[in-house]
């Protein structure tokens, strides 16, 4: 077992085509209260043109991970270990200047709340033009043309005049479209979308999600899509990573993870979500307790204090030993494959309608 813990979290060794590889990422912040282990030994791969969904609750480390990929964390208070390899280039040790060349160019980000994520002081057009001028050496005129082209593409009416408007003059949905246009200005090969529709209304969310999917087909970007909403992820992602307390607890294709989930946390998430269809009176089964503090995470499996099935595991392994996440389709759990299968079929599946 101990050898396994050392090599844990190594996804499919057979993933040479991975465009982004993150290996054993550890992110620690020093705060007044102590050291926060925001990400603790995380590994994943993203393939070209594919979408990796990362799902988790607040404090699971999903946003931190992706700020780290682009080096947007505060370098003074953050300690980062592990490897981040984007298209053959190691980023964790790359100097700031290299990262600047990459950001907004080869890899771009879309943030959650477009109202606070766009500067109120500059026009939408200027904010769109900047990365194009910086990375492509384009003139103001060229950048303007490109920006108007992208605004048109994302469905902003009258892009020529909207170019000179400020973000506060846009509606919520239009602002998020402008943010997407901004991210796509330099044709990025990797797009990191951090809860891009959480601040939006559901009908607007549906428009934006479809738009992102259609644009991905056209631009061929790889996408990392971060969200807390399993419904959104089911619609967007090819592969799925479930995070809990700074670690990946389950990995697989979206279909595998959502249809035959095999980690008790994923079971908990799915059974605590009400559905739009199916049995109306099916009771929700919440996960008891609350997520752990990352200042002092539980020993062993971080989910053990909330897990209903830790009793099935012998030798109180759940509280003493951290379960590894095997390569490929896997869940980081001490339950045996047979136990998982039985519990899922007998207890969990009936709840999910």
């Amino acid at each position: 077992m101990s050898t396994l813990t050392k090599t844990e979290d190594t996804p499919a060794a057979t993933a040479p085509e991975a465009f982004l590889s993150v290996r054993d990422l550890r992110v620690r912040f020093s705060t007044e209260d102590g050291i926060v282990k925001a990400v603790d030994g995380l590994s994943f791969d993203v393939e070209r043109g594919k979408t990796l969904g990362i799902v988790g609750e607040s404090g699971s480390g999903k946003s931190v991970t992706n700020l780290t990929v682009l080096g947007l964390h505060n370098r003074k208070t953050t300690d980062i270990q592990g490897e981040i390899i984007l298209d053959g280039q190691e980023l964790n040790s790359a100097p700031e200047r290299e990262m600047e060349k990459l950001r907004g160019n080869k890899a771009a980000m879309i943030f959650q709340d477009p109202l606070t994520a766009l500067s109120p002081y500059y026009t939408v057009g200027r904010q769109l033009s900047e990365p194009f001028m910086k990375h492509r050496g384009a003139s103001k005129k060229e950048a303007r043309d490109r920006a108007i082209e992208m605004l048109t593409k994302v469905g902003i009416p009258q892009p020529q005049t909207r170019f000179d408007d400020y973000p506060h003059q846009f509606s919520g949905g239009m602002r998020q479209r402008a943010m997407i246009a901004m991210a796509l200005m330099c044709d990025p090969e990797l797009l990191i979308a951090d809860e891009p529709t959480t601040a939006l209304d559901v009908t607007v969310q549906a428009q934006i999600l479809d738009l992102l999917k259609d644009l991905q087909q056209e631009f061929g970007s790889a996408i990392i899509f971060i969200t807390h909403d399993l419904g959104v992820i089911a619609n967007m992602a090819d592969d799925l990573l479930v995070m809990y307390a700074g670690r990946a607890v389950e990995r697989g294709t979206v279909r595998e993870v959502l249809q035959t989930p095999s980690h008790p946390y994923t079971w908990g998430l799915l059974s605590s979500m009400p559905r739009l269809t199916g049995d109306i009176d099916e009771e929700l089964v919440p996960i008891p307790g609350s997520p752990p503090s990352l200042l002092n995470p539980p020993s062993g499996c971080p989910f053990n204090p909330r897990c209903a099935y830790s009793g099935h595991v012998a030798d109180s392994l759940c509280t003493t030993e951290r379960p590894p996440l095997a390569p490929g389709r896997a869940a980081a759990c001490h339950l045996t494959a047979g136990q998982k299968q039985t519990i899922f079929v007998n207890e969990i599946k009936p709840r999910l309608g």
Partner: protein, 373 residues
């Protein structure tokens, strides 16, 4: 005041309709227009945000009515008027047969204890300088209620009821997690043995795994104490789970109201269709479900569209929709109590259509490229 909750005669949630029962709460043509000041050189009222612009609904004893809609539809304002945190600009609110639309503080006092509110944000709705015990006790003190065994005993009972440790009586809100704080909010609302609770987005600030804890608690409270709920939320799945009847709001109006079964499986209003279609589902095989993508955002409630308010984003809109406002009525073929405000209602089904409705021009263009390319 007795310690026992005055339970309305025990009835199943679906039991009884308007015909057989008196509503606990009746709202008629209720409006809330927030004035906008401007102009030159002297500021004057130049317009109004028509946050709620004529809504009618009833809540029956022990029933849960869900109010869904997107931001700016007026659902929260509606909740605040029902609890009389806001005074309506027009219309009538009747509670237990008494008109409370413009009731003064003194007249409201006895009713205030019967209508309680649960707020969205468990962080800012609890006074950080008071202990949990004080927070839950203060409504009883304000209303001069002395339960048998004393207020403190009652608080401990309430803490136990909402699933918190009664020993934590002397702790402060910051010592609790978000979900636990929301439980404190529930306990406070229950302290006065209310008959109606207005819950305004009670779980939307909570993590997914915690939401279900609070939803289950509210459901338990409702079932065991027979309290009626006005459940306001933007999450259609949670509303479906919690409410017996559901009203859909759009730009200050109720566009459709029905029992949940009808609303979620046989909706008639195009907006209800669009909303249901937009909800992303975990179920991966959704090809059987209709796909409707609206264009743009909700128009401004300062100058809402004439006639039917949804017409500017509706694929079925015709000239009539701009001139005549559709009344909220029972369309033939609908169950009793299923009311829809639409001139050209959709078929009562959410099955996939022959052709998707894609109103968004950018989406339509991209999808056309892809199918051709």
């Amino acid at each position: 005041m007795s310690n026992n909750v005055t339970l309305p005669e025990q009835q199943g949630p679906e039991a009884g309709t308007a015909a057989t029962r008196e509503p606990l709460l009746a709202v008629e043509n209720m409006k809330m227009h927030f004035p906008i000041y401007g102009g030159f050189p002297i500021k004057r009222k130049v317009g109004a945000v028509r946050a709620v612009d004529g809504v009618d609904f009833q809540v029956f004893p022990g029933e849960s009515l869900g109010l869904v809609g997107e931001s700016g539809c007026g659902k929260s304002t509606t909740g605040r008027m029902v609890t009389r945190l806001l005074e309506p600009t027009a219309g009538k609110i009747t509670y237990s047969g008494r008109d409370i639309t413009h009731a003064k503080r003194r007249e409201l006092a006895p009713i205030r204890s019967e209508i309680q509110m649960i707020f969205q944000d468990p962080y800012s709705s609890l006074n950080p300088r008071q202990t949990v015990g004080t927070i839950i006790k203060s409504p009883m003190e304000i209303n001069g209620i002395n339960p048998p065994g004393g207020r403190e005993k009652k608080v401990r009972e309430l803490l136990e009821l909402v699933g918190l440790n009664p020993e934590h009586y002397n702790r402060f809100p910051h010592e609790f997690s978000g979900g636990q704080r929301q439980r404190i909010g529930v306990a406070r609302a229950l302290a006065l043995e209310p008959k109606l609770i207005v819950a305004d987005e009670p779980v939307s600030a909570l993590d997914v795994s915690i939401q279900a804890q609070v939803v289950n608690l509210l459901q338990k409270v409702q079932d065991e104490l027979g309290i009626a709920f006005l459940f306001i939320a933007h999450d259609l799945a949670i509303v479906r789970h919690f409410s017996h009847r559901v009203a859909v709001m759009y730009l200050g109006k109720i566009v459709e109201v029905a029992d949940r079964e009808s609303l979620y499986t046989r909706p008639r209003h195009p907006y209800t269709h669009a909303l249901l279609s937009a909800v992303p589902e975990v179920d991966l095989d959704t090809e059987h479900k209709e796909r409707i993508r609206l264009a743009g955002d909700v128009p401004s409630p300062i100058s809402p569209p004439s006639g039917c308010r949804f017409r500017t984003r509706c694929w079925k809109a015709q000239d009539k929709c701009a001139t005549d406002e559709p009344p909220l009525v029972q369309i033939s073929g609908n169950k009793e109590g299923h009311l829809t405000a639409c001139h050209f209602p959709e078929a009562p089904s959410i099955e996939a259509r022959v052709e998707d409705v894609v109103m968004d021009p950018a989406l339509a263009a991209l999808e056309k490229d892809h199918t051709e390319g």
